[in-house]
Symmetry: C2
Subunit: 152 residues, 2 copies
């Protein structure tokens, strides 16, 4: 577990009460990944959620294994940002791969346990799903800008 | 208002009970837009949410008015899909513009009223925010594929 105080530093846990942060802290651990670690793989079951504390992560799209498109950079995760939000959204499959491009320190949350918490505590659930939706929208906004630039 | 039965046809309203669909139906209307209508504008307050019944909508990113990038196509909305999900996610600003590229028929929902419903009925709120997050993730997935193709 991690301390609720650690979670409270990140906007991704905004609007959670101290009791709710304590519940999430129980299913979270701190982890490190060496440079070049593939943290998650596209099209695999999304069972974990991370918040990046230190480091830098690239998001890579490999065309779902069809081979038409190989290893295109489609985004990056900076400290304070969430990774693996697909673990909280049906159909619970990662939509790109993620690679540590520097040594990384993360908070790792058990996605299945967090889904269970969302089910039993709807107030926590609503707050978390709002934060998840905001994180995905922020990523979409960035990706649209990159797409517009690539097409300009 | 529209009928709850109309809403029930769309996956965007999945997991809402009949009572909850009735509440949402009260703040929804059916509307049509002629071809070439700008339905919403980038960087303006997001106060409405739509589900496309018939037609075709382009999502256009214009670089936030900075002039560096002009009118790049960054996505499209097909029948059954939601438009204007930013109306349910802070900071409640549309992130691109949307233009009807064919005559469109939509369900238009008052975003402020829906936000109020989400506040007072957390069960409805959790279901709606899950559907919103799923809609944004689906859009992100599509945009990442397009970005990867543009960069390939």
């Amino acid at each position: 577990m991690v301390s609720p105080e650690l979670l409270r530093r990140y906007p991704f846990f905004a609007c959670l009460s101290y009791e709710q942060l304590k519940a999430v802290a129980l299913i979270a651990v701190e982890k490190t990944f060496p440079k070049d670690t593939i943290i998650l793989k596209e099209n695999t079951p999304a069972t974990k959620l991370w918040v990046l504390i230190e480091g830098d992560i690239d998001l890579i799209f490999s065309g779902g294994g069809e081979g038409a498109i190989v290893n295109a950079l489609v985004g990056s995760i900076a400290p304070g940002e969430a990774l693996g939000v697909s673990s909280m959204i049906e159909p619970f499959q990662y939509i790109s791969s993620a690679k540590a491009v520097a040594p990384c320190k993360v908070i790792e949350i058990d996605g299945l346990a967090l889904r269970a918490l969302v089910e039993v505590d709807q107030k926590l659930g609503l707050a978390m799903m709002r934060n998840i939706a905001a994180a995905v929208l922020e990523r979409l906004k960035y990706t649209q800008v990159e797409l517009a630039a690539a097409r300009a």
